[in-house]
């Protein structure tokens, strides 16, 4: 089965020495992959590389088998992402922001898609409010809704539970599980190991710009196991 999104031996270094190095990762349809790591581990950089926001210095990123630079626009229409900041303009209402996002992604039934996603993320009461007047958590909900409303086949979310309240976290969890069940390939980064363990088929640990190991989502005391993997990697690097 062709990976929906694949990174093959990709490296991208910054002048300060940070970056990602020789990374290979595949997102397969129906699979949720969680990316975990400490701050500065390179999670956001990897996601930026996978979405074409940064070009690799070596290696390759493939969307449905096509190099990113030449991937058809029809393939990009089936990608949903939220990296760092939500696509939510403060001067527009939540509904208008979702309409804008849907139009840019070529959704045909815009009103229907917006109504559905407003209901999915319990945003109906905020639909006519400007985003600048929303709380941080509700702004994040609008961003997540904008990333998911077109039922993407590839979903990339960078710490999507940031600022979400417990109800928002549960809604997002259910949404991702349903979408993966429908065949979407999902990559999600998070600091909340217990949270990702509930939804991920695979948990990948990142440290110092490299994918260093996998965590079994079913393992008890997953945080302890995570820190042990990172500690071993740091010790290896310091030797």
């Amino acid at each position: 089965m062709t990976a929906a999104l694949a990174v093959e031996r990709a490296s991208r270094a910054f002048k300060n020495g940070a970056g990602i190095f020789d990374i290979s990762l595949e997102l397969k349809p129906g699979q949720i992959v969680a990316l975990v790591g400490l701050n500065g581990a390179g999670k956001s950089t990897l996601m930026r590389v996978m979405l074409g926001m940064l070009r690799v210095q070596s290696g390759e990123v493939l969307l449905n088998g096509h190099p990113l630079a030449s991937a058809p626009l029809t393939d990009w229409a089936k990608v949903g992402h939220l990296v760092e900041y939500p696509l939510a303009y403060p001067e527009l209402t939540a509904r208008r922001n979702l309409e804008l996002s849907a139009r840019l992604r070529g959704v045909s039934d815009i009103a229907g898609a917006v109504d559905r996603v407003l209901a999915e993320f319990a945003l109906e009461q905020y639909a006519t409010r400007r985003v600048r007047a929303l709380s941080l958590g509700n702004r994040q909900r609008v961003g997540v809704a904008a990333a998911l409303q077109h039922d993407p086949a590839v979903i990339v979310l960078d710490e999507p539970t940031n600022a979400l309240d417990p109800a928002g976290v549960i809604r997002l969890r259910e949404s991702l599980l349903r979408r993966a069940g429908d065949g979407a390939a999902v990559l999600v980064s998070s600091h909340h190991l217990d949270e990702v363990a509930r939804i991920a088929d695979r948990i990948v640990v990142m440290n110092r710009g490299r994918l260093i190991d996998d965590l079994d989502p079913a393992i008890p005391e997953i945080e302890r196991a995570f820190f042990e993997i990172v500690r071993r990697d740091d010790e290896k690097a310091n030797r």
Binding site: F14, R48, L51, G52, M53, L54, R55, L73, T74, W76, A77, V79, H81, L82, V83, E84, Y85, P86, L87, A88, Y89, P90, E91, L92, R96, L100, S101, R103, L104, R105, G106, G143, A146, V156
Partner: protein, 251 residues
């Protein structure tokens, strides 16, 4: 392209910058020009009348020449701020990351921004010409004759051409990734335009040609010199689109 244009229209229409910029250009310039007319009508100070220049004549031609002088610098500055915001805000608000990985190319988004900006400039220039006609009529300048219509049309053209010469601002806001970077270049454009007139470059300098053309009633700038605005605008449109196409979020 249609989706990107729709998005840019919505963003500009609902923004504070768009509303304030529109009001500053239409209401600000017409009120300022009307104030100059009022000052000319009520003063007997020869020094002040001399400073008011053509407005002191107290007729349509003097009034519209004064408006052209005001909009030559003020209108250019106001338009440039709006353009700087349209591009720079995506970086300031962090929404630029959401404009990647879409079925709309980033170069298309940049061209949509420029298209909407020029459409906005056309509409603002029409509204400003209408507002000036209303202000002049209220001030008792008499009926609008054929010569005045030509001057109003020239005022409209000045507004559109002033918007065209601000296109480097879009590129500057893109490269600097900030509204402020674009605004800084806008200030630089106004200064370069003024200095180039003093240096005698006149109509051959695209930044100065539109205002010179309007203020001289079309005599000081040739059609060829005005036509230089086309390659000038095309170069900066291309540079901006290429910068958006090649953009990386690496800083």
């Amino acid at each position: 392209m249609r989706a990107a244009i729709w998005a840019e229209v919505v963003k500009l229409a609902f923004s504070t910058v768009g509303r304030v910029g529109s009001a500053a250009i239409v209401v600000g310039i017409s009120v300022l020009s009307g104030s100059l007319l009022l000052a000319a009508a009520t003063t007997h100070d020869p020094q002040l009348l001399a400073k008011l220049g053509p407005v002191a004549a107290g007729d349509w031609q003097g009034f519209l020449l004064g408006a052209a002088q005001v909009s030559g610098a003020g209108g250019l500055g106001g338009s440039a701020v709006v353009l700087a915001w349209m591009f720079g805000r995506e970086f300031g608000d962090g929404t630029i990351s959401g404009l990647f990985a879409l079925p709309v190319r980033r170069s298309t988004i940049a061209l949509a921004k420029l298209t909407v900006y020029l459409m906005w400039a056309v509409v603002m220039s029409v509204l400003l010409a209408i507002a000036l006609a209303v202000v002049g009529t209220i001030a008792g300048l008499g009926q609008i004759d054929a010569h005045t219509w030509v001057m109003l049309e020239r005022q409209w053209a000045l507004g559109v051409m002033s918007a065209a010469i601000t296109l480097p601002v879009a590129w500057a806001a893109t490269l600097s990734r900030s509204v402020l970077g674009g605004v800084s270049v806008a200030i630089g454009l106004v200064i370069v335009a003024q200095v180039s007139v003093l240096a005698g470059l006149g109509g051959w300098m695209p930044l100065a040609a539109p205002a010179l053309w309007a203020i001289s009633l079309g005599t000081a700038v040739s059609p060829v010199q005005l036509a230089l605005l086309i390659p000038f605008g095309a170069v900066f449109t291309t540079l901006t689109a290429l910068s958006w196409r090649r953009m990386q979020l690496d800083r």
